[in-house]
């Protein structure tokens, strides 16, 4: 068992890579690339399930950790491990891989080898981001994740792929420059890229605080663009409307949000607290702004993009509220958002594929033609809105209630408005696409509802939404171990992530309340 525990993360990392090489070498016929990619994705998902199965919630720190020297000078180690924060994200990434393959099954008609090779490479990069505990290794995977994405957007863009790809790449690559400088600066001060070493050094105040402010800003900027946080969302709508469905469903959100939790708040708690009021304000603006723009979109990809901006801002609000409940809810909501967005992307991808348009106005009355699509879409839409019993409700409730009681009533009320607007645009979208009179396009095209493969992935996703809504207690305790600082009690439900003199922390805590 120990053998497996020690190598499981490396296996998860390498399996998609091996699959990518296999796809690249295999001939492009009989849908062979699709099958190899699907099997690889399913096998990887199976491996990721090993993590929660053998996760010890009572043990603090990182589990399944491996720490091997890679390069002596500069001292870069292959240090990987997961805790309650990252473990479920790895599983989520594993779950979305087969979803992505199925979503691309019929949508990708040409050059399948290129597509699936890069798709699997992207999986490796994402797993790498979630499990790396050495900042250099983390940065390498972070950068690596941009490349397949940019190439695929360029190659498979619906209208103007290259432009969207360039926009995406530059938006996310340029902020990485200060991030790398910040990492290098930390290394020059501490001689280590290791997350735990750096965390200790910062906690003990071994690093001068004034430059640390800028270092924290550099980290935050890179992550905020990737989430995206208002006003850095310029790339999002174009990417959503151009990227292949399988890529779009993974591009936004979890990488940036996870990095914020782990590397911004985790490494620089004091600086993060100082930045929190601004981020809370930006997050609430993002919630409302995204929701308002989603209301007026005519293209469902763009609608989904602004809806994502709104929902991801809500998660950001939970993260920077610095309440224990809020952070837990935020991590849970990352998972929910991944599942729900995955399902919505899959379904809209089918609609786009079948009717050849993403214009909402061109569709109408689809429900009578495609009843199964409609049913599943309504379930996913309701989950996204935050209907009780479905998963997003739990996350949103935790975030909003903790904001209300722990941060500020005003912000909480404003954010709740965004959630109400969310119900409006989603239900309106459902109504315009699926109900009402049949549009000419809907009449003209033959009905061709979801097939077995698609149902086999969508029905479990829908069930998962229900289970995650009904039994969050299955997930929340493990997540809490990742949020909860081991040395501190959570009696006051304020997130203490620092060992700095308690006076400082308390004054901050008071300020938050």
């Amino acid at each position: 068992m120990n053998e497996i525990n020690n190598s499981i993360l490396t296996l998860i990392l390498l399996l998609p890579l091996a699959g990518a090489v296999l796809v690249a070498l295999a001939p492009d016929r009989w849908k062979l690339p699709n099958w190899i990619a699907l099997l690889t994705a399913l096998a990887t998902f199976g491996l990721t399930l090993h993590l929660p199965a053998h996760f010890d919630p009572h043990q603090t720190g990182f589990q399944y950790a491996v720490n091997l020297p890679w390069i002596d000078n500069p001292a870069i180690n292959y240090h990987v491990g997961v805790d309650g924060l990252s473990m479920w994200l790895v599983v989520l990434a594993g779950l979305l891989a087969p979803v992505g393959v199925i979503a691309s099954w019929n949508a990708i008609k040409v050059r399948r080898k290129v597509f699936f090779t890069l798709f699997l490479l992207q999986q490796t990069a994402m797993f790498g981001v979630f499990i790396s505990l050495d900042l250099m290794v983390y940065y390498a995977f972070w950068e690596l994740s941009l490349v397949p994405m940019a190439i695929l957007i360029a190659m498979y863009g619906r209208k103007d792929g290259p432009k969207a790809a360039l926009k995406f790449f530059l938006f996310t690559f340029i902020p990485s420059a200060p991030l790398l400088v910040a990492i290098l600066w930390l290394y020059s001060k501490t001689g280590s890229f290791d997350f735990t070493v750096l965390q200790n050094n910062v906690m003990l105040g071994l690093i001068p605080a004034a430059p640390l402010f800028w270092v924290a800003i550099a980290f935050l900027l890179a992550f905020a663009v990737k989430v995206p946080v208002f006003p850095l969302h310029g790339w999002l709508a174009d990417t959503f409307s151009e990227a292949p469905v399988a890529m779009a469903m993974v591009v936004a959100g979890k990488l940036g949000l996870y990095s914020m939790l782990r590397f911004h708040i985790g490494l620089f708690p004091v600086q993060a607290r100082a930045a929190a009021p601004y981020l809370i304000a930006l997050a609430v603006i993002g919630i409302l702004y995204g929701a308002c723009l989603a209301l007026i979109q005519r293209d469902f990809w763009r609608l989904l993009a602004f809806a994502a901006l709104s929902h991801l801002s809500l998660i950001t609000l939970g993260i920077y509220g610095f309440t224990f409940t809020g952070s837990t809810g935020a991590v849970y909501q990352i998972l929910n958002h991944g599942v729900v967005d995955g399902a919505l992307f899959l379904l809209l991808g089918f609609l786009c594929d079948r009717y050849g348009t993403s214009q909402i106005g061109a569709l109408g009355g689809v429900a009578s033609k495609l009843p199964r699509t409609a049913t599943l879409f309504v379930i996913a839409a309701l989950a996204m809105i935050g209907l009780p019993m479905l998963n997003s409700f739990v996350g949103e409730f935790l975030i909003l209630s903790s904001t209300f009681s722990g941060v500020s009533r005003g912000w909480a009320i404003a954010a709740t408005f965004g959630v109400i607007l969310g119900a409006a645009y989603m239900l309106w979208l459902v109504q315009r696409i699926f109900y009402g009179p049949e549009s000419e396009l809907t009449k003209a095209k033959p009905a061709d509802d979801l097939h077995f493969k698609e149902l086999a992935i969508l029905v479990p996703l829908a069930l998962l939404m229900l289970v995650m809504g009904l039994a969050p207690s299955f997930w929340l305790p493990t997540i809490e171990t990742g949020i909860h600082p081991p040395q501190q009690s959570s009696a006051d439900h304020i997130l203490h992530m620092t060992l700095l003199p308690s006076a400082l922390t308390n004054s901050h805590g008071e300020g938050q309340r």
Binding site: W70, I71, D72, N73, P74, V114, M136, Y139, A140, F141, E143, L144, L146, V147, A150, I151, A154, M155, P162, A165, L166, F169, L170, F173, I174, S176, A177, P178, L180, V181, L184, W185, Y187, S188
Partner: protein, 500 residues
Amino acid sequence: MNPTSDIYRILPEVILTLTGVAVMFIDASLPPSWPRRSLGWIAAIGTTLALWASLWQLSLPQGTGFYSTVETSAFTIFFHVLICGIVLVALLLSLDTLPEDSHHQGEFYALVVFGAVGMCLLTSAVELLVVFIALEISSISTYILAGYRKNTSRGPESAIKYFLLGSFATAFLLYGVALIFGATGTTQIYQIAQLAATAQNHLFVLAGMALMLVGILFKVSAAPFHVWTPDVYEGAPTPVVALLSTAPKAAAFALLLRVVYEMFPSLQAIWSPLLWAVAVLSMTVGNLAALRQENVKRMLAYSSIAHAGYLLAAFAGFGTSGIAAASFYIAAYAAMNVGIFAVITLVSGYDEKLPMIEDFRGLIYRSPLLGSLLIFFLASLVGIPFTGGFFGKFYSFSVAVDGGAVALAIIGLLNSGLAAAYYLRLALVAAQRSPNTGEDEKAPAPRVGIAVGAALLLAVAATLVLGIAPGQVLRAAETGAHTLQTPSPQPAAPAVSVAQ
């Protein structure tokens, strides 16, 4: 002075010279109608032998030969291996791409090998006149090679431009040497290092150093001495550009390292800000100009200027780590640059029927191998992780941050974001299908022969190894860096009075 062991210290140069002479003689004695392609193989074998000889030099004790004019150390061996490797790849590339009926093929191979002699000698010279001679050997060969396609309009222009500006720069260097000799009374680098720290006529030393720097910065095509680069690259045959943009630069950077770190460590307060400014200028000018280029070779010429800037960032680092980072960057840069020029040679052809970025449209469909290789090398030039380019940049900026030049590192990395735009543009064009499908037939997929295949394989392998397992090369670079440090300058008051 034992003459036999002295020979061992220049063994690679000797082998290369003999190879060049042999190629020249065989070329002259063969009947004109016979194919000259096998001469390329002779040159390649000679270069490989020289490479082995350089590695064998590792067993020699570190030291100098020929009355302290040439040195053998881990540093010189690092650069010898690098230069021989580049020349080997360039030769393999030329073997398959020089047209069979081109005139003077034998001369071409001989010149490449003679150029290599100069470059190798340049890295091991520790006496300024030998430095000058070595620089001239390598320059004269490259001047001729740049104008090798003399029946095109751009070829001779390229050669003349390179020759005029290059001689001008060499004159600067020589004038600098003269001034330094005047100030210190010696041309031996170690002695100058000791005297420069205490020399009383400081102005001469400073002026001499500045003039030498101008000459060297011209050779590495750093801004503001870069204006020749795009024109020369555009006019020269692409296999030559693969050589020209890497090997002479590697040699010149080795010289620069020697001059600033070994000869004038005492003047770091003066050259450090100068190189800082040149680094910032090079990367900014290079990248901004590259954004506007439509010709692939011109774009890569400006990109090489920018890369010279990234490399100069390493000079902001402290002694040993700065040298090691610069050496490593040169190796990484050489691997990916030779690689991308090899791909471009194959795509554009020797006659360059397809020189523009637009001509690369749909390359990945015409030739999946070349298309993916192009994207791979471009990714390395951008600095994507797990390629040599990433570690080069990372290491260079890391020592810069370590040396306190945080602003330089930020400017550099923002620049690399800017650079991503034009590299990506080429990559995206290559990944896009051309609108009219008939065009695919007009430009058939280029054939990849054995020699050129080996060249590509070497370049890909080097780029990947430097990106995934850079440990060994890093260690070699560091060992080399340690050998470059001169013993701390001793109080040499009497010597100074002699110099007066």
